[in-house]
């Protein structure tokens, strides 16, 4: 009995430090419910849902759902300006917009889907979200008037400020470029 004590203590300590993969806490998530919440869309297009939307449809949706806060043409509204500012980033009065500043079009889809319209986020369908994103990109001169975007099209867009960001050196070793080279 005596000599087993230390083993029990060690076992307890291990249990506290790294819990066994048991069922002590919570429950396993089902794939269906994960899909409901798993909304993030990444620069390579992963996470973007099926669907497509045109600049033309986006123009109407934008007028209905967005213009009141962001302005008829993406500026001059009470909230964030979404259009313009090109070439202003190194001036004394930089204007950061989707067109001048955002590095990835996929982030635009992700953000509109999760957060806009402000009072009713998530209310637009994937097709509508693609359309309204396409229209904002069109107002910024990034896609033509007849453009229609889907997941692949969104990921293929090279945003004007794509190379405008310098990741902090402390975390550069954790970025895929670095980890690929190392592995």
């Amino acid at each position: 009995m005596r000599c087993r004590e230390p083993i029990i203590v060690a076992g307890l300590a291990a249990l506290l430090a790294t819990p066994a993969l048991g069922q002590e806490f919570g429950r396993e998530a089902t794939l269906e419910e994960i899909a409901l919440w798993d909304v993030d869309a990444r620069p390579d297009g992963s996470g973007l849902p099926p669907g497509r939307g045109s600049v033309a449809d986006g123009r109407e949706l934008y007028a209905t759902h967005c213009a009141a806060c962001h302005g008829e043409k993406g500026e001059g509204g009470p909230n964030d300006r979404l259009v313009g500012g090109h070439g202003s980033l190194d001036s004394s009065t930089p204007v950061k917009t989707v067109g001048s500043y955002w590095p990835y079009a996929t982030t635009l889809y992700d953000y509109i889907h999760r957060a806009m319209p402000y009072f009713d986020p998530g209310s637009l369908t994937p097709d509508e979200t693609y359309a309204v994103a396409a229209y904002i990109l069109n107002m910024n001169g990034i896609v033509p008037d007849d453009a229609e975007l889907d997941a692949a099209g969104m990921a293929a867009i090279e945003m004007p400020n794509r190379h405008g960001f310098i990741p902090e050196p402390e975390f550069a070793p954790l970025l895929p470029e670095a980890t690929k080279a190392r592995d």
Partner: protein, 424 residues
């Protein structure tokens, strides 16, 4: 020097001071609007008689003589706005003592309002690069081994009033009110990561809020962050308040406040950053060449004199200088104060305890000779980082960075004893 004990000079300083204080009280020199000199009341006979007070109650209210409140802000320069137009509200640092921010005065920042989340229906999904995916609720968290620690949270926009324009009317609440310190209680992130069997090659984690905007950030899975981050459910001994993330939030001590995602509802382990709007469009620092620093996450060493500070009035003679210092690198090791526009520096006394990644309280006795001057503080942390001057910071970052301002704060003292904001 041991930072937990007063410097050797403190005792001598105190006794010299009490002599001065006695002298000045004896000579009855009183000016109006003082911070450091209490008004000398009339005779003790004028003090109102004692009276039976209110009965005991369910909660303790502040004294009716005390006025403590946050102030709202929209963007730099848009201050004291209607709460509906505000994006943050700032802590009244100049009216607080010690280092712990009262729960109802912790600074506030949100992106789509404060959701009213019912713990009965709130869930945390943990998934991604892990052996299994789990759904947890607050009850689960509360049954897990808990930790408590003191930590500051600081919005990376703290200090943003200082990048461009001088403004005589700024108080320290305006310039530095986006930092607060609490005792936080919760479960280690590493414990949750162990529960789901996180794949060790997962180098980033998405943390997402249950607010309307689904505020989300990519968190680098460094040893330091995995070792220190927690999912908190309590602040200063009580359940989180809704404005601060009820029923659960992430806490990443020492890193920009936006990473400590409130109303936490999802953690996803991944192999690269997710590039959300809040790490591209926002919370990136523009440099003079038009490029922006990204994932500039650590809150650098910082300090500010909270008294005397902007919009206060002082009188010649004894004044106690006090303030707060903090660093996302660890504990504060030294705070120096200059009362002669940066020509000479004196080491301030640090009040115990001085804890890593928590605010530290410093103080220094000062005899003001009545001549116009500038006072400023400069902190050094245990890793040797020294708080830069504004000139050095701007030389490196320009004036458009918006985020991560940690330059030395200067307060100008004019001949009348008015203390005012100054940039140089």
């Amino acid at each position: 020097m041991n930072k937990l004990s007063p410097p050797a000079s403190a005792a001598g300083e105190e006794s010299a001071l009490s002599r001065r204080k006695l002298l000045s009280i004896g000579s009855g020199s009183v000016a109006g609007g003082l911070v450091a000199h209490p008004a000398i009341a009339g005779s003790l006979a004028d003090v109102p008689p004692r009276a039976v007070g209110d009965p005991v109650g369910a909660t303790s209210e502040r004294s009716t003589f005390v006025d403590l409140a946050r102030i709202t802000e929209a963007t730099p320069g848009k201050r004291n706005v209607d709460p509906l137009d505000a994006i943050n509200s700032k802590t009244p640092l100049h009216k607080l003592d010690g280092t712990i921010t009262p729960s109802d005065l912790h600074y506030e920042r949100s992106h789509s309002g404060i959701p009213a989340l019912d713990p009965k229906t709130h869930r945390l999904l943990v998934h991604g690069m892990s052996a299994r995916s789990l759904v947890l609720d607050v009850g689960d968290l509360r049954r897990m081994p808990s930790i408590s620690r003191m930590a500051f949270i600081e919005c990376s926009g703290n200090g943003w009033e200082n990048w461009k324009n001088d403004d005589d009317t700024l108080t320290v609440q305006h310039t530095h009110g986006l930092v607060s310190t609490h005792e936080w209680t919760g479960v280690r992130l590493s414990y949750i990561a162990g529960l789901v069997g996180r794949d060790p090659s997962s180098r980033w984690m998405l943390a997402e809020g249950g607010d309307a905007s689904g505020m989300a950030r990519s968190i680098p899975m460094t040893e330091e962050i995995l070792g220190e981050a927690m999912i908190a459910y309590a602040q200063n001994g009580e359940p989180l308040r809704p404005a601060h993330g009820y029923p659960m939030r992430l806490l990443v001590p020492g890193w920009e406040g936006n990473l400590s995602v409130k109303w936490l509802r999802r953690l996803r382990f991944g192999d690269r950053p997710f590039y959300t709007r809040w790490e591209t469009s926002r919370y990136t620092s523009l440099m003079p060449d038009g490029k922006a620093r990204q994932f500039q996450l650590r809150q650098e060493v910082n300090s500010v004199i909270t008294s005397p500070s902007g919009m206060m009035e002082i009188a010649p003679g004894y004044n106690r200088i006090t303030g707060l210092a903090w660093s996302g690198h660890g504990a504060i090791s030294k705070v120096e104060i200059s009362t002669d526009a940066g020509r000479t520096w004196q080491e301030a006394r640090l009040n115990a305890p001085v804890l890593p990644k928590a605010q530290a309280r410093f103080q220094l006795n000062w005899h003001w000779d009545g001549k116009p001057t500038f006072i400023t503080s400069r902190a050094t942390d245990e890793k040797g980082h020294v708080q830069p001057t504004r000139e050095a910071l701007i030389g490196q970052m320009g004036k458009n960075a918006l985020f991560h301002y940690n330059g030395q704060q200067i307060w100008r003292v004019n001949a009348e004893g008015s203390v005012r904001h100054a940039l140089s």
